[in-house]
Every structure is written in C-alpha cells, then in structure tokens.
Amino acid sequence: MDTYLNLPEEKDSDIVAKDVNIYYGKQQAIANCNANFPRHQITALIGPSGSGKSTFLHSINRMNDGIARVEGELVYQGQNLLDPKVNVYNLRHQIGMLFQKPMPFAKSIYENLALPLREAGNHNQADIAKRIDRVLKMVDLQHEIGKDLNKSALHYQVGSNSGFV
C-alpha cells in the first residue's frame, strides 16, 4: 500500500519524505511514504492505532536508529536526514519532539526544565531561572506550580502534565 500525502509544493516545504520505507526486522511498518510538510503550518497525521504515525515521526528525529531500518529520503532544508553522517544531536536541537505519554524525569520540576538548557550549553543560572519563569508564564502555570518548583516532577504527572513537558 503506497502512501501519498501530497499537500503543497515541495519548495514550500520544510520536511519532505521521499519513498520512505520503515521495517522492524522483517516486518514493514511504513511502505513508500511520500509527503510534504509545509513551512509555517501545522500538519496533523491521522490514522488508526498501529498505522505507523509514531514510527514515521520517530524517524524524522532519528529516534529509531538501531531499532528500525529506515529506507528512502527524509529531506529537511535540503539535507537528507537519514544520512548516517548527520549529527543526530544537532538535528534534535533543531527538530523537537513531544511524546504521546509525558515522561518527566525523576527530578524536581525546576531541574526538569533546567537540565535541557544546561545540556544545550547554557550555564548561566540567572538566565536559566529567567527562561523558566517566562515559560511558566507563557503556559499560565506560574501560579499552580510556581512555588512547587523544587518538588518532584513525578507527582504532577497525572493532573497537569500537558503543561510543562
């Protein structure tokens, strides 16, 4: 079964999938997927459970390296993402990913937010604190968890997860 998601022109797209085939061992999960993902737009992938949406997304972020075999091309700003020479970390710094199931780290809420910043090379404590404050304001969680920033993030998993992952 071939999959075509031909929305806009390729030149207007940031990510283009060309004949993407994904296999888990011998089992094929995605067959001949061709798709354009236009710039400045939100594109939704819709399909029944198990149809390969996550598998496809994972490969854009190279999250299934070593787990699945991905064939074809995924072109991002003129570069094939699947090129083994691509530095996956630089890639992930440019293309973010949110998971279906929130998975906060077993640290305080503050640490959860600060760690990625620090890992990205920001070691300015004041700046980190400022950024976290701004983010919390942006998602309007400042009042709810602003005073609990040093509590374990895991306790907030159920109630208000969508907020800060």
């Binding site: 700003q77 530095n87 630089n90 890639l91 440019q94 090379g121």
Partner: protein, 305 residues
C-alpha cells in the same frame, strides 16, 4: 543547505566517551568470566585427559575413592543428586515465604515493610556462612535429632540452613521485581473494583512473574554454590541421599572438605576441579532453563498484547 547538521558537537564526544567506558567495563567482566571458565575447564578435564577416568563413569558412579591410583573408583552422581536435592528443597521452602514477605513489603505495608521487614531480612545477608553452619550444628541438628531421631545430620538439615540463607536473596530481588510493576497498573486495577488480593494475583504477580523467576534462580544459584554452611550440617558422606536424614555430600561441600588436602595435578585434586566444572555446567543448565522460561513468557506476553 543546513550545514550545521553535519558538524560534530559535544554530544558526540560525550557519547564516544560513554561508549568507551561502558564497553571497556563490560570487556573486563567478560574477560574475567572467560578466564575463570577457561581455568576451571582446563583443570576440570584433566581428570579425563590425564588420569583417564571414564567420563561416563564419573557422571554415573557414586563412590569417591582417590587413594587407589591403579583402580580409582570415582563418581559424582551422588554428589550431583544431593546438590540438586538440597537446593530444590531449600528453594521450595523459601520461595513462598520470600514472595509473601516481598508482597507485604510492596503492597501490604510499604512503611513497616521498608523500615523493619526488609532491613531485617537483608541483615541475614551479612552473616557469614560459617555462622549459619555453626548455628545449624548447635541448634538445628539437636532439634532434628530429638524430633526425628537419628543423628540429625543430613539433607534436610542442609536444606533448612540453605533456606534461611537464600531467604534475603530471593526476597530483595522479588521486592525489586514487584516494584518494577508500574504503580498505574495497580491504581487502574483498584479503580476497576479489584480487591487487594486480586490486584496481587492478577496484576502484580502476573506482570512480574519473569523477574520473580529470575529472583528464584538467583536463590538457586546461591544455594547451589554454598559450601561452608552445608558442609557442617550435611554429614559429608558420599552416598545417594535416599532419605531426608541420610548424611550426604554436595558438590561444593566435597570440594571444600578435600581441597586443602590434595596436591596440585594429582588425580585427587583434578577430580575436585572436575566437580567445579560440573557445578559450572549445572549452573549453565539452570541458566538456559531460566532463559527458556523467560523467553516463553515474553513471547506469550507479546502475543497477548
């Protein structure tokens, strides 16, 4: 063109370092394991290659007589049977108890469990096997003697001592296994109206079954390899353990009893290394069995999902 994608970064360097570290550590462990295996193997087969003992006889005979060099009468069958019997009995006694304690610690009362029950069981781990042996000798043996007659020495005494010794091993690992089941599963089951008992049986035990099995295998391994304590209470007689009160000897107890009295590269010494080799082979078999069970349970799991 997004050139940046091809640049190296500190993450790549970190990963290189990490891989180097963990793989060298794994190499150390594996090289050590292989070295010991090779060592035991090369010493263990000398009985058959140098001393020309018939391998089949060694496996099936039950006498242990290394004095007569012309016609040595050597066989490990009785030792193997005794090892298996004591271990099996010990595990049979301990596993249910360990499971109950683990369930208590994880489900029934994590507070008391974590503060009193678990530390208490883990305390047993720090007591040297010699102490178990002597307590067995001074308390258990007289008790068994008064209760069942005979001398008290034998398979049952050894099994009971072993049972106590492996209790903390199995319990701790079972606790880990039960803790490995996500809390949400329990919450979910309770929300469906399950009773505690139902949650324990149908959720906790079922999901953690493979890991619980691994816990039991660890216990088996420890019981199987234990020497000093067993040696003191089993009566050290190389013969088939026909009853629970028959004095017998296990692979390890024989090994420990005789090792210091043998001369390197003689039949007596080589034969003991052959016992060590047998121990290895038997634990290999345990291991494979466990793998088989685990694999089966995993494949069943993946089908049901």
């Amino acid at each position: 063109m997004n050139k940046q994608l091809f640049n190296s970064s500190k993450e790549i360097r970190q990963d290189k370092l990490g891989r180097l570290l963990v793989y060298s550590a794994l190499t150390v462990v594996l090289v050590l394991a292989l070295a010991m295996l090779y060592f035991i193997f090369s010493k263990g087969i000398a009985t058959f290659t140098q001393n020309h003992i018939n391998f089949w006889d060694f496996l099936t005979r039950s006498n242990w007589n290394t004095d007569n060099l012309q016609k040595p009468d050597l066989g490990a069958w009785a030792l193997m049977v005794t090892s298996a019997e004591t271990t099996l009995l010990a595990v049979l006694v301990t596993t249910p108890l360990a499971l109950v304690i683990a369930i208590y610690i994880v489900v029934m009362s994590p507070k008391i469990g974590g503060r009193i029950v678990q530390p208490l069981t883990e305390l047993l781990l720090g007591i040297p096997s010699v102490v178990y042996g002597f307590v067995g000798l001074t308390l258990l043996i007289p008790f068994l003697r008064n209760w069942a007659g005979g001398t008290g020495f034998g398979v049952l005494a050894a099994s009971l001592v072993l049972a106590l010794m492996i209790l903390p091993t199995i319990t701790s690992l079972a606790v880990e296994a039960l803790n490995g089941v996500p809390q949400s599963y329990q919450t979910f089951a309770y929300s469906l109206g399950c009773t505690k008992w139902q949650v324990i049986v149908h959720v906790l035990l079922k999901i953690s079954a493979p890991n619980l099995l691994v816990a039991v295998i660890f216990g088996v391994a420890r019981a199987f390899g234990e020497a000093l304590a067993v040696q003191m209470v089993i009566g050290n007689t190389v013969q088939l353990p026909l009853g629970l009160f028959t004095p017998a000897a296990t692979l390890t107890s024989k090994l420990t009893t005789d090792m210091g009295n043998t001369i390197d590269d003689t039949l007596a010494s080589n034969a003991l290394w052959s016992l060590a080799l047998l121990l290895l082979v038997m634990s290999l078999i345990f291991n494979l069995l466990a793998k088989l069970v685990l694999r089966r349970s995993q494949s069943r799991e993946s089908i049901s999902r």
